[in-house]
């Protein structure tokens, strides 16, 4: 490999990504679809062939997944997760039922094997917490009463991933039912131990990692995460889950500090990951899967809206808020790609990559729109009719309710 060519190719890719990211932000969109399209354009069969930087991008993509999940774990404390699990478990179950099942059935209908169908179930199941959190903030919905409901569904999904990914990894590796259940047992055990340790001794783990020098905190957290992710991968619990658990175990000031330090690194490697997924997907296969992917996107957008509606209704939210909760949940993104990436690299189904790419491209773009317009549109269709804004010159005269 020529170092000069490698640097030139990498530089061109990253510079290209920065331009794509700027365009996305200018249009008020998530950069994820742009990174994917960038990867598709530069990949095998795309307009340009970059082959020198393949190795680096492949390893970078692996690190990108690990960092995505680590930072996700850092956002939550173990206490939050346990409280949330108790409160939102029914919503999580409905979410899985309504959104994973259509993916699974679609996989079978397309003539894929059960393992590939299970991977597609994950793709359609998990909403994009990154896109949704950003959209809720942008729309000014953070203060709304349905927002905690939306977030709790996302948290349950993230926790469910910690179970789902090991199962999928094991099945993709071709272990039988017995091996699969062993992996699930290991995964369940590991998750319980980590949650227990984090609840009881989270302070101590964080303290051991904390340092006055940001440099050492960065190296410590990154090193520990990669180590645990690697061991988790060896145990077939999946590297991503290992990283997520490390993120949960670290809490308090250390977690917050680590988040600020690692966020730029995550941004870089996550972008590399999306490009890698695009690169390893043959753009020539896209048109063939576009129609079924679009149909599945429509179905699973509607089932997500139903999920949000149901979850919000259960929390005592009125109809307009239920519509908003449903619309907010539609976006799929980074985790769908993580799941599809696992399945695509295992070679279980050649159409997995293009299909998931098309599906996510549609819903990552549509998600912010459904978050914005689901409520006004559904209100017009099913009521309640919007009340003309009252003239609010003298609010205090409203009689107490």
């Amino acid at each position: 490999m020529h170092p000069a060519t490698l640097l030139i190719e990498l530089g061109a890719i990253i510079l290209g990504l920065s331009i794509l990211g700027r365009v996305a932000t200018r249009m008020g969109m998530s950069p994820i679809p742009f990174y994917l399209l960038g990867g598709l354009a530069f990949g095998h069969g795309g307009v340009l062939d970059l082959s020198q930087s393949d190795d680096f991008i492949e390893i970078g993509a692996e690190i990108g997944v690990v960092l995505l999940l680590l930072l996700l774990g850092l956002e939550y404390t173990a206490g939050e997760l346990v409280t949330n699990l108790r409160a939102a478990a029914p919503a999580g179950a409905i979410d899985a039922l309504l959104n994973a099942v259509p993916g699974f059935l679609a996989g079978l209908l397309l003539g894929w094997g059960p393992t590939a169908a299970l991977a597609l179930a994950g793709v359609t199941w998990i909403s994009s917490s990154g896109v949704i959190a950003k959209v809720l903030g942008d729309l000014g919905h953070l203060g709304n009463r349905e927002t905690p409901v939306v977030l709790s569904v996302l948290v349950i999904e993230d926790l469910a991933m910690a179970l789902y990914l090991p199962i999928l990894t094991a099945l993709l590796a071709g272990v039988g039912l017995l091996g699969g259940s062993l992996t699930v047992a290991i995964a369940l055990g590991t998750i319980s131990i980590v949650l227990f340790l984090a609840l009881r001794h989270g302070g101590r783990i964080s303290k051991a990692l904390s340092s006055e020098e940001p440099e050492f905190l960065l190296l410590g957290v990154l090193g520990l995460t990669l180590l645990v992710a690697g061991v988790a991968d060896k145990l077939q619990v999946s590297a991503a889950v290992g990283a997520f658990l490390v993120g949960i175990a670290i809490s308090g000031d250390v977690a917050e500090h680590a988040q600020t330090l690692l966020a730029p690194l995550r941004d870089l490697f996550a972008a590399v990951f999306f490009v890698f997924f695009g690169l390893s997907t043959d753009p020539g296969a896209l048109p063939g899967v576009l129609l079924p992917a679009a149909a599945l996107a429509v179905v699973t957008a509607l089932t997500k809206i139903a999920t949000g509606y149901w979850a919000a209704a259960r929390a005592g939210i009125a109809k307009p808020g239920r519509y908003r909760a449903g619309g907010a949940l539609v976006a799929r993104g980074e985790f769908s790609i993580v799941i599809a990436g696992l399945a695509a690299t295992s070679g279980v189904e050649p159409r997995m990559g293009p299909f998931a790419a098309a599906y996510v491209l549609i819903l990552v773009v549509a998600g912010p729109f459904t978050a914005r317009y689901a409520e006004p549109v559904l209100r017009r269709l099913f009521g309640p009719k919007p009340v003309p804004a009252p003239i609010e010159e003298d609010d205090d005269d409203l009689t107490p309710r």
Binding site: N84, A133, P390
Partner: protein, 73 residues
Amino acid sequence: MGGQVPISETPLPGIGTQYTLSTVAGRAISVVAGRDGVRRIAFYNVDDPDACGPGVRLTRAEAVALAELLAED
């Protein structure tokens, strides 16, 4: 002071905490306390009891200043 005022507190995982204060006159005020120290304050709509607009972002200093203004006798 404050004991009689109904304030509900809901965690927003990954973001912070959402507080809702209900007034005697039947309105409700939303305060979102972000982990980053930013506060967002907004008023719930009259016709849609679960929604409040984007409201106003306050830095820590602004939030303290506002609280002092409101608490002054």
